[in-house]
């Protein structure tokens, strides 16, 4: 059974979202689930620690410049 050659996605796009890559077939269940999984991660709340970290890096740099 050849399940590795549906890359080119010739078989119509059903009701798929086509925002993502063509390669994993937005028209395949795998492609849809992959997007759903990843989009869920991307939309998680970002902890404050990262913005704080960047601010500290920025301050450290401007302090250094004054030396």
């Amino acid at each position: 059974m050849n399940i590795m050659t549906n890359d080119m996605g010739g078989a119509g796009d059903k009701r798929a979202r086509t925002g993502g890559s063509k390669t994993l077939g937005a028209n395949s269940e795998i492609g849809r689930k992959l997007k759903q999984y990843y989009d869920g991660l991307v939309s998680e709340d970002v902890p404050d620690r990262f913005a704080e970290l960047l601010s500290r890096l920025e301050q450290a740099e401007s302090a250094q410049k004054k030396d």
Partner: protein, 182 residues
């Protein structure tokens, strides 16, 4: 030269994607956030080596990925060789309508070898081209393509779904009938 405020804002904007990629790689929220933190520090230190106008997201993903593999090596964990690993078939059956549960999908994704999982995430979810993904992973475009193919075929196998595009619903139905009918 000071890091421009623009660079800082670009880093901030990239954090959600970096966290998603880190989670996909490490499968662990604490490790993922540590990876993102390391990535931000390294990116800040190396910002002069970043060429404005090139793809910041790809550059950051490269740093994060390198950090992930170097941490794995430090922990003495073998970097997985995808060819040597047999993925177990999950006892997961798609519902009648062929719709997979997201949690089942996540479990299957976790069972992929690291190199295949990252390839499929970069291409199928993060929106990178094969060329960009190859650059991020430091390998040939053809290698990425074959990892994506193998990943997809393993996922289909683990989740017991046939290639819809090749067979269509009727063929799938026939398969189900063939294997399950008394």
């Amino acid at each position: 030269m000071a890091v421009s405020a623009g660079f800082k804002n670009d880093l901030l904007a990239a954090i959600p994607s970096l966290r998603a990629f880190a989670m996909s790689l490490s499968q662990n929220a604490d490790k993922a956030d540590d990876l993102v933190q390391e990535t931000l520090v390294k990116a800040w230190d190396k910002h002069q080596s970043f060429q404005m106008g090139t793809n910041l997201k790809a550059w950051l993903f490269t740093i994060l990925r390198n950090e992930f593999y170097s941490q794995m090596r430090k922990r003495g964990r073998e970097v997985q060789d995808s060819d040597g690993i047999m993925t177990a078939r999950l006892a997961v059956h798609p519902s009648q309508h062929g719709v997979l549960d997201l949690e089942d999908f996540r479990i299957a994704l976790e069972k992929l070898p690291d190199d295949q999982r990252e390839a499929v995430i970069l291409i199928g979810a993060s929106g990178f081209s094969y060329e960009e993904a190859a650059e991020i992973c430091g390998c040939a475009v053809g290698t990425i393509k074959s990892r994506v193919s193998r990943a997809r075929s393993r996922l289909q196998d683990m989740l017991e779904i046939a290639g819809e595009d090749d067979f269509g619903p009727d063929a799938i139905a026939a398969q189900v009938m063939g294997s399950n009918a008394a």
